[in-house]
């Protein structure tokens, strides 16, 4: 029941919200559903904390790693819903672009991500990861403009092809499991595969490597690793801002979680050398590639999207370094990045609403005219570039520290370089946006719920930077125990 209710509720809400043709009623229904969902997720986290793991049938299971990622999903979903309530007024009238369709698709998207997190069976995990693409493609193309359609199509095709490679990798792993004597139905179960340990790699070790390679490319496409990132800036820039926040802060984490599960299996089967080297390569490519591309962006949301790629590279680096400190930093970083990036996308949504554009050369003089948005933008940018006292400083420092401890000087250089270049790109744009004069702007528009959503995110990044609650540190340690990397 603890797992079933929060899993089923989003699907139920997604279906029944379509009944309400009146926008206000649909909003009320969706928000109520959202609140109940958050309560159910919190209850689940609490139960998992007490019982280490809960299973539901042969296919679903929640453990410490799941709850850690569900925490960030819950937070992102909650603030997104809060933000959407007022943001929805900008959505132009159209056949499928009414509030009820928006909420229905958002809850469907939530359902697929939740299901992906709760999957114990790797085949089912793949099915749900593909379903996240399908559920969110219509949201990416929600505005139905030329750009939105192009971005939606590209997202659909690139991610489906990418994920197809992950399916091939899953089959290779299944083959290795069957050949090493694990009976067929259990041969896709994550727990079984991790416990099988070295026996899995004994028969055909090259098969495990092949599997991880394909899965890393496949799920790496969804994470947005360079060079498979081509869909990511388009989708983030063209989607409605709350959806950009969901994509960047929830979906990328979800794909990273899937890759983490495979990484654990590979490490247990053939040792950490292969998979961690792969993660370091993708991490380094993403850090360098994305930070350089950030310098030439002319659109606020594209800039933020490339910053997401950079931070996913940071998380991969943390895992790839391979000592507990690095894994700790990576898990903490994925949570921190979610909070900071949702804040920034909400700001971008508000900027678009007031300036009517996201072109960086058109936005100036914000500090004078838009007080709240400017404050949140400053907080968000300072947080995302890893300034103390914000929480991303803590996690980036842990990852960097781990690289130093391992004496991996190449990675140290790469991480520092990416941080510096990213810092330059973002701070340059920040001072340009805030400074100057812009007389053209009328009275700024910002709704109370929008301020509330942004304030929650800002509070989280600041609060977790000043004082990391022991309960949260405990959660990360339990997640690390699950992976036992």
């Amino acid at each position: 029941m603890t797992l079933l209710l929060p899993l089923v509720l989003p699907a139920v809400v997604a279906t029944f919200v379509l009944v309400f043709s009146n926008g206000t009623h649909a909003t009320r229904f969706a928000v109520t559903g959202g609140f109940i969902e958050i309560a159910l997720l919190a209850n689940m986290a609490w139960r998992v904390h007490r019982e280490t793991a809960i299973t539901l049938g042969p296919y679903f299971r929640a453990d410490g790693l799941t709850t850690l990622f569900l925490m960030s999903l819950g937070l992102v979903f909650f603030v997104t819903l809060l933000y959407s309530v007022s943001y929805l007024r900008h959505i132009p009238k159209g056949r499928f672009s009414s509030p009820r369709w928006f909420y229905s698709l958002v809850f469907l998207f939530l359902f697929t991500m939740l299901a992906a997190y709760l999957c114990e069976n790797l085949g089912l995990l793949w099915i749900m990861m593909e379903a996240t693409t399908l559920a969110s493609a219509l949201l990416v193309g929600f505005y139905n403009t030329e750009g939105a359609i192009e971005a939606g199509w590209k997202y659909l095709v690139v991610c489906t092809v990418g994920i197809a490679f992950a399916l091939f990798g899953t089959i290779a792993l299944y083959l290795a499991a069957v050949r090493s004597g694990i009976p067929s139905p259990a041969a896709l179960n994550w727990t079984t595969l991790v416990q099988a340990g070295p026996a899995l790699g004994e028969q055909v070790p090259s098969l495990i490597k092949l599997a991880f390679l394909f899965v890393a490319v496949g799920y790496g496409t969804k994470i947005g690793f360079v060079p498979m990132h081509s869909w990511l800036p388009d989708a983030h820039a063209e989607a409605p801002s709350p959806i950009s926040a969901m994509l960047s802060a929830a979906l990328l984490n979800c794909a990273m979680y899937a890759l983490l599960r495979y990484d654990a299996i590979t490490v247990h089967a053939i040792g950490p050398a292969f998979s961690h080297t792969m993660l370091l390569i993708f991490g380094a490519l993403s850090l360098i590639g994305a930070s350089l591309l950030m310098m030439v962006q002319r659109d606020l949301k594209r800039l933020l999207a490339y910053s997401s790629v950079e931070h996913m590279g940071m998380v991969a680096t943390g895992i790839g370094i391979g000592i507990p400190l690095g894994v700790y930093g990576a898990l903490l970083h994925s949570f921190n990045h979610s909070a900071a990036k949702s804040l920034l996308f909400f700001v971008a949504g508000n900027v678009r609403e007031n300036f009517g554009t996201l072109r960086l050369d058109k936005i100036t003089g914000m500090a004078r005219s838009m007080r709240w948005t400017s404050i949140f933008l400053t907080v968000g940018v300072l947080a995302i570039i890893g300034m103390p006292p914000f929480s991303l400083f803590v996690s980036e420092f842990a990852i960097l520290n781990a690289a130093f401890v391992q004496e991996n000087h190449a990675m140290v250089t790469v991480v520092l370089l990416a941080i510096v270049v990213g810092f330059g790109a973002l701070v340059f744009q920040l001072q340009r946006i805030l400074g100057g004069d812009d007389a053209s702007l009328k009275t700024p528009v910002i709704a109370k719920t929008e301020i509330m959503a942004m304030a929650i995110c800002a509070f989280v990044v600041l609060g977790m930077g000043v004082h990391l609650p022991m309960a949260f540190v405990g959660m990360i340690h339990r997640a690390m125990a699950v992976l036992s990397l």
Partner: protein
Amino acid sequence: MGLISNAASHALSSSTVLIFLTLLLLAATKRLSTCISLFIVQSAVIAAQVFAIAHLHHSAEAYIVGTVVLVLKVIAIPWVLFYLVKKLRTTRDVKASLSPAPSVFVAAALILVSFSAVQSYARELNVARDPLAAAVAIMLMGCFLMITRNKALAQILGLLILENGIFMAALVTTFGMPLVIEIGIAFDVLMGVFLMGLFTFRIRDSFADLDVSKLRRLRG
């Protein structure tokens, strides 16, 4: 050994030739509807292979999987594709950026590459080499078609062919994934085709064409 069992035991390796034939023809054809027909043939061959395996292993699960493949990939999805071709009133051409002759050469090269790629795996895993090579060749060909065909519908077809290859790889190495997973994957594929079909309508309405090489506003 009865006649049917005898035929079934040879079905896997001998039907591989048909697969290679469809791949070479796919490279050569310019007409969209012919491509869809070739996809039907390819899917039918794979469905026949599933039934052959089901017969040899007396596996009820495999019979169900075979039926799903038959209904979905031989009937439902091609029907959707033909419907889209008719409804979108588009030109028949797949808008290939590589003309047929070099395409066939590339396809032949891909088949050779897949044979050499699976050589060592086939020996280590003790599975038949030819069907495995065919599976990899289908996957490579799917990727190749997606890269060189610019019409949205042809890209959907490339994706489906890629998926066929993955399915066949699972079939020849492990006699297929567990039933629940296979059905889930099939459902995802079907939903994916529907969704992409929906997008083709939007692309046509906004760009007045189905040529995705015109989708080049977003870059950098």
